[in-house]
């Protein structure tokens, strides 16, 4: 097997991952020498995270480096030569090869070996433990019991990275922009229901990989792609590369004919995104419920204690997330426009409500109201806590994305001003109160 350009680039990435992960024991060593306290098992967790994350990155890089659709120069050049699907790609095959198998084997071997040399294993969020103190070890009880999962994780991670990147490559061809939904929907199945499962994880990785490869073949068969920006004048490409519209600044960005691209999200996508968020929360909640709180300070927790702790955490998320979501919407709108009159001005003129501006507060208030009352209702109906959390987030996100006025409508038609860069509202208000508005 001859190493091509993409292989060499990937090997550089592998070297970077290894060097990064090797920093962890060093960090542990220096922390111990400096302050006499070992950073272990944090360093072990980080090391495992670097490997698993690295495997995902490698899988994605594999597609990114070889798929002509993801490189404008490559695809433009390819269009000038007599390449068609079926012939080998000049920069190496984008489909899985022996090299991918070797990559995965390398990472698996790395994990198996270091499990003994530096007792760090990996698991979704990773670990541990032979030399940790009994207290530390007990807190990672669940992960310790599932240590055998670790060597399989690079396979899954590489497949997920590869399949997701392949789906992404498909989505940029606009054949089906929803392609990324497949990995987004399937990945939580690794953890839900019933906590992490190797069988399901393997199945999910296989499906993502197979779907990604199938779509990639479909994508390559359609070459050359009829993308809207295909064959644009070189002057335009130069212009776009040198300065983008978002860098035009004040006032062109605020009152010019172009605004931040706000592709209207249709209701199907809003439903899908809200559903996905709820689905991921369900899966993550399941992981945390099953594995995170089985021990406290080395002492096994009773089932009642575990249930109480899990319920408390779920409740804080159930009521906390709507607050965060509401706040995020407020911040986005605040950033887009300032009120037509200061708070002081409102009080002094008696115009406490300015509908053209204040309409933007309605949705965040609704989010708080619904997010605060819906869980209570669901709890009354004896809906399990995890489902309450998921349903609440689903509904709240739907309100966040679906309730008007949209940012575009509010900024274009509402009673809001555009802030100059660097202008702080306090200085504007101060000037206004002193009657120096003009």
């Amino acid at each position: 097997m001859r190493l091509n350009y993409a292989h060499r680039r990937m090997l550089k990435l592998v070297a970077t991952i290894i060097v990064t992960s090797a920093l962890m024991p060093l960090m542990d060593f220096f922390t111990y020498r400096a302050v006499g306290v070992s950073a272990y098992p944090l360093t072990a967790i980080l090391m495992g995270a670097v490997w698993v994350g690295g495997a995902v990155l490698l899988g994605a890089a594999r597609v990114n480096l070889t798929h002509p659709r993801l490189s404008r120069g490559y695809s433009e050049w390819l269009a000038t030569v007599p390449w068609e699907y079926g012939k080998p790609l000049p920069l190496g095959s984008v489909l899985p090869t022996v090299f991918d198998g070797l990559m995965v084997l390398f990472f698996t071997g790395l994990i198996v070996l270091t499990q003994y040399a530096y007792p760090a294993a990996v698991a979704g969020c990773v670990v541990i433990i032979q030399t940790a103190t009994p207290e530390q070890a007990a807190n990672f009880h669940w992960i310790k019991d599932h240590l055998w999962l670790a060597p399989f994780l690079p396979v899954v991670a590489y497949a997920v990275g590869y399949g997701s990147a392949a789906s992404f490559a498909l989505s940029v061809t606009k054949i089906t922009p929803r392609a990324l939904l497949v990995p987004a929907v399937l990945v939580p199945l690794c953890f839900y229901p019933g906590g992490p499962s190797l069988a399901r994880t393997a199945a999910v990785a296989t499906v993502i990989l197979v779907v990604g490869v199938c779509w990639m073949i479909q994508c390559l068969k359609r070459f050359p792609w009829d993308a809207p920006d295909w064959n644009r004048p070189i002057k335009e490409i130069y212009l776009e590369a040198s300065i983008r519209a978002k860098h035009l600044g004040w006032p062109h960005l605020q009152v010019g004919p172009w605004r931040k691209s706000e592709d209207p999200i249709g209701w199907p996508l809003k439903l899908a995104l809200s559903g996905l968020a709820a689905w991921w929360l369900l899966a993550l909640g399941e992981v945390l419920s099953k594995g995170a709180w089985t021990h406290e300070g080395g002492r096994p927790m009773t089932e009642a204690e575990q249930a109480a702790l899990a319920a408390a955490v779920r409740a804080s998320f159930t009521f906390g997330l709507p607050c965060l979501i509401s706040m995020s919407r407020l911040l986005i709108y605040f950033a887009e426009g300032s009120p037509p009159i200061s708070l002081w001005g409102r009080l002094r003129t008696g115009q406490l409500v300015i509908p053209g501006y204040d309409v933007m507060f309605v949705a965040p208030l609704c989010i708080l109201a619904v997010g605060g009352t819906l869980p209570l209702l669901l709890f009354q109906l004896n809906v399990p806590g995890l489902f309450v959390l998921a349903i609440n987030v689903f509904v709240v996100l739907l309100i966040e994305m679906g309730m008007g006025p949209s940012l575009e409508a509010w900024t274009l038609t509402g009673l809001n001003g555009r802030r100059r860069p660097g202008a702080r509202i306090s200085s504007i208000e101060r000037a206004a109160m002193q009657g120096r508005g003009a």
């Binding site: 040198s242 003129t349 508005g437």
Partner: protein, 258 residues
């Protein structure tokens, strides 16, 4: 056409603009003049869409600002606003910025590159056109802002003190001629604030004088001079805006030790 109807605006308690009414016909060049802090920039900001009117409304070419998304977008395509101190991307070059603004306004590529070259030459930016804006002087930066506004080919220009900001005499002359040429075209409407009467006299079709948030006079420079029976527009303005100034000057100068 710009139609300003019953326009009110206040930042805090004191109204900055009170019941302003002004109609600027298509093809007119109207200059807003008045003392500092009396609402000139606020009026221009309202017309440009930077600020929302507290009461009243603004119509541009028959479309009302902020009434609907479609109308607002249509207006934005037709209006370019040059603030007194425009923000500039200092890492970009003058040429890049000017081209990008032209593209923003949908100027056709062939005309865009040609027009940019001519503008950069006209304002002596040709030699520094490929240098980062960060390396340009204050006056050169102002020129970049002017070029960016002019390249848009917009039918409505809202210019806040375009002659200030360290422009050299050559640029002042060039800008005067360009604005005059634009104003001579029937389809271009210009609303600008200029504090220097000498520059306005030869340029403006009409001068709107604003004081304490109200338009107290709006007529051609010649008629304003005539009505005040003054030889220059500056003196006429002084008589309208500060009738007490001559007496104050006499009083001030009379008290000085000789």
């Amino acid at each position: 056409m710009i139609d300003i109807v019953n326009l009110w605006h206040h930042y805090g308690v004191r109204p900055t603009l009170s019941d302003v009414n002004l109609r600027i016909e298509t093809g007119e060049l109207v200059v807003v003049m008045g003392p500092n802090g009396m609402g000139k920039s606020t009026l221009l900001s309202l017309v440009a869409g930077i600020l929302p009117p507290f009461k009243g409304h603004i119509e541009i070419d028959g479309k009302r600002r902020r009434r609907s998304i479609e109308e607002e977008k249509e207006i934005r395509r037709r209006v370019v606003y040059l603030p007194d101190t425009p923000w500039l991307p200092v890492q970009a070059t003058a040429r890049e910025f000017v081209l990008a603004v032209g593209r923003l306004y949908g100027v056709e590529e062939d005309r865009l590159f040609d027009h940019a070259e001519r503008l950069l030459k006209l304002f002596d930016l040709h030699a520094v056109g490929d240098a980062p804006i960060a390396s340009l002087s204050t006056g050169q930066r102002k020129k970049v802002g002017i070029c960016a506004a002019l390249i848009t080919d917009a039918p409505v220009f809202v210019l806040d003190e375009p002659f200030s900001g360290g422009l050299d005499s050559s640029a002042l002359l060039a800008l005067q001629h360009v604005l005059k040429a634009l104003a001579a075209r029937d389809e271009v409407t210009i609303l600008m604030a200029v504090p220097v009467p000498e520059l306005v006299d030869a340029l403006a079709d009409r001068v709107a004088i604003i004081k304490e948030g109200r338009i107290i006079a709006c007529d051609s420079p010649a008629k304003i001079r005539e009505s005040m029976q003054m030889a220059t527009l500056g003196e006429a303005l002084e008589k309208i805006i500060h009738p007490e100034r001559v007496a104050q000057l006499d009083e001030y100068l009379g008290e000085r030790p000789r």
